[in-house]
């Protein structure tokens, strides 16, 4: 616990170490690059380990919801199951169909995964732990989030497979529809704090979390975020009963794994954003003394949202494609505008 509590100190110690290295005649750019590589390895490691944990958690949660045991064979309580899966995917044969557009087929997993990694730059993990303090952090995360769509469309198109093409096109239609609702749902939060910087957004919630002021915004954000990350009940993109595997039907081995790493990385980003915007980020519950370190608070809130997303996935049936599109345009977007109007009205009245 002592070590966990001193995570913040650890960051400072690394910084001090890099500073003191300057005295030994090591050029500055080497130190900058060294620091960058350390940060990159930590984040990349987090994404990989987080995916392993989330896949296992997903299977266990689904199993318990459906009154099953889930993976039990590999390791105690099945906890090495996803490690085994990852090792298996690593040594699988990599198949590129003869008719596929080879270059785009190769590039699209990268286009899905790289923006998901980029989003981690703006996340504020604790008062001192963050990669960079990006002033337009919120807008930046939305921008990286929608870049991944491009990869999904390209994957669908380049596979030269009818299922893939349909999956990719549906994905594009779905994501652009819910993108509007997603951004509309956070406008209320921006109005309350007057900032797009995630640091500022968190410090504005010192006394009261925004979920209290923005319950409608929170619900809209959660629903649109689930749709944005292509998860059930909004996963018509890869609806296996009608579209085989959707856009990744033709993918195998590491290319297939990259889509899933990207998906779980963006699920975590969506939860982190939700925790930052509505649940006070790394701040403890207002009124509680700061005993638990902020990063633990932050991760606890993130995994709570992840759990809610999984819970929804395994409780509700998938909705039909026409209902899905209608739900966004006829229900979420008008409600988003209503939320902006209500927030503005109350703020105008109270001055």
């Amino acid at each position: 616990m002592e070590l966990l509590y001193n995570t913040e100190r650890l960051v400072e110690i690394i910084g001090d170490f890099l500073q003191s290295c300057k005295g030994y005649g090591i050029p500055e750019w080497v130190l900058t690059l060294g620091g960058g590589v350390v940060v990159a390895v930590i984040i990349a490691g987090f994404i990989a380990v987080n995916t392993l944990i989330l896949v296992l958690a997903e299977r266990k949660v689904s199993a318990f919801i459906q009154d099953r045991l889930g993976p039990m064979r590999v390791g105690p309580w099945g906890c090495l199951q996803t490690v085994a899966d990852a090792l298996k995917l690593l040594q699988k044969e990599d198949i590129t169909p003869k008719k596929a557009d080879r270059l785009i087929f190769f590039l699209s997993p990268i286009i899905v995964f790289a923006p998901a990694v980029m989003a981690y730059v703006a996340i504020s993990w604790s008062p001192k732990i963050r990669v960079a303090d990006i002033n337009l952090g919120l807008l930046y995360i939305f921008a990286t989030g929608s870049l991944g769509t491009l990869g999904i469309i390209l994957a669908g198109w380049s596979s030269a497979n009818k299922w893939s093409l349909l999956g990719g096109m549906r994905s594009a239609a779905q994501i652009i529809s819910y993108e509007v609702a997603l951004i509309l749902s956070v406008i209320g939060v921006i109005m309350l704090s007057g900032s797009l910087n995630l640091e500022n957004l968190i410090s504005c919630q010192k006394d009261c979390w925004y979920i209290v002021y923005q319950p409608l915004g929170f619900l809209l954000f959660l629903v649109s975020a689930i749709a944005e990350t292509n998860r059930a009940p909004f996963d018509i993109v890869e609806a296996e009963q009608e579209l085989v595997g959707g856009f990744h039907t033709e993918y195998s081995a590491m290319k297939f794994a990259m889509f899933f790493l990207g998906e779980y990385a963006s699920v975590f980003i969506a939860s982190a954003l939700c925790a930052t915007l509505f649940l006070g980020g790394w701040q403890p519950v207002p009124g509680l003394p700061a005993v638990v370190p902020p990063i633990i608070w932050f991760l606890a809130k993130c995994y709570l949202i992840v759990f809610i997303i999984m819970w929804i996935r395994w409780t509700y049936p998938r909705i039909r494609v026409d209902q899905l599109m209608g739900f966004s345009w006829k229900f979420l977007i008008p409600l988003g505008f209503l939320n902006i109007g209500l927030t503005g009205f109350i703020m105008a009245i109270r001055g």
């Binding site: 960058g36 990159a40 984040i43 690593l90 040594q91 044969e93 990599d94 198949i95 590129t96 169909p97 003869k98 596929a100 997993p109 990268i110 995964f113 790289a114 990694v117 980029m118 730059v121 990669v131 960079a132 990006i134 807008l139 930046y140 198109w157 596979s159 030269a160 497979n161 009818k162 093409l165 096109m169 594009a172 239609a173 529809s177 509007v180 951004i183 406008i187 921006i190 109005m191 704090s193 007057g194 797009l196 085989v244 033709e250 081995a253 590491m254 794994a257 026409d322 599109m325 209608g326 345009w329 006829k330 977007i333 008008p334 505008f337 902006i340 109007g341 503005g344 703020m347 105008a348």
Partner: protein
């Protein structure tokens, strides 16, 4: 500006992570291609025609709607950032209500024309 160097750096990290995985996979994978393995999957049947078909115009309609509404949101975000603590809050609010009502009329029009109906 230094912050955005991190963005560029993390783009490279993402690409390097993928390439690293692919290269590792390339070294230890088995590679036994065959005619049927490399053919396009179509429920076990021989693929019929090209997959690069003309797709439905409805996707284009949604793209158009998205473009309109996303541009509107680009207008709303700067308004939202200056709303708090502004001296002319009421005027700002009334302006935005007018703007949103015009938008909603557009949305209702699109709905009446059937553009929101998935066919």
């Amino acid at each position: 500006m230094k912050e955005y160097l991190w963005v560029a750096f993390f783009l490279l990290v993402g690409i390097a992570f993928c390439l690293g995985g692919f290269i590792f996979n390339w070294f230890i994978r088995s590679n036994k291609p065959s005619e049927s393995k490399l053919s396009t999957y179509e429920c076990g049947e021989k693929p019929v025609g090209s997959a690069w078909i003309q797709y439905d115009v409805k996707y284009y309609l949604y793209g158009l709607l998205f473009l309109i509404f996303d541009v509107e949101i680009v207008f709303i975000i700067p308004w939202a950032t200056i709303f708090k603590g502004s001296a002319t809050v009421t005027a700002l609010f009334v302006e935005m209500v007018i703007f949103i009502v015009i938008l909603l009329v557009g949305l209702i029009y699109a709905g009446k024309k059937g553009a929101l109906q998935w066919r």
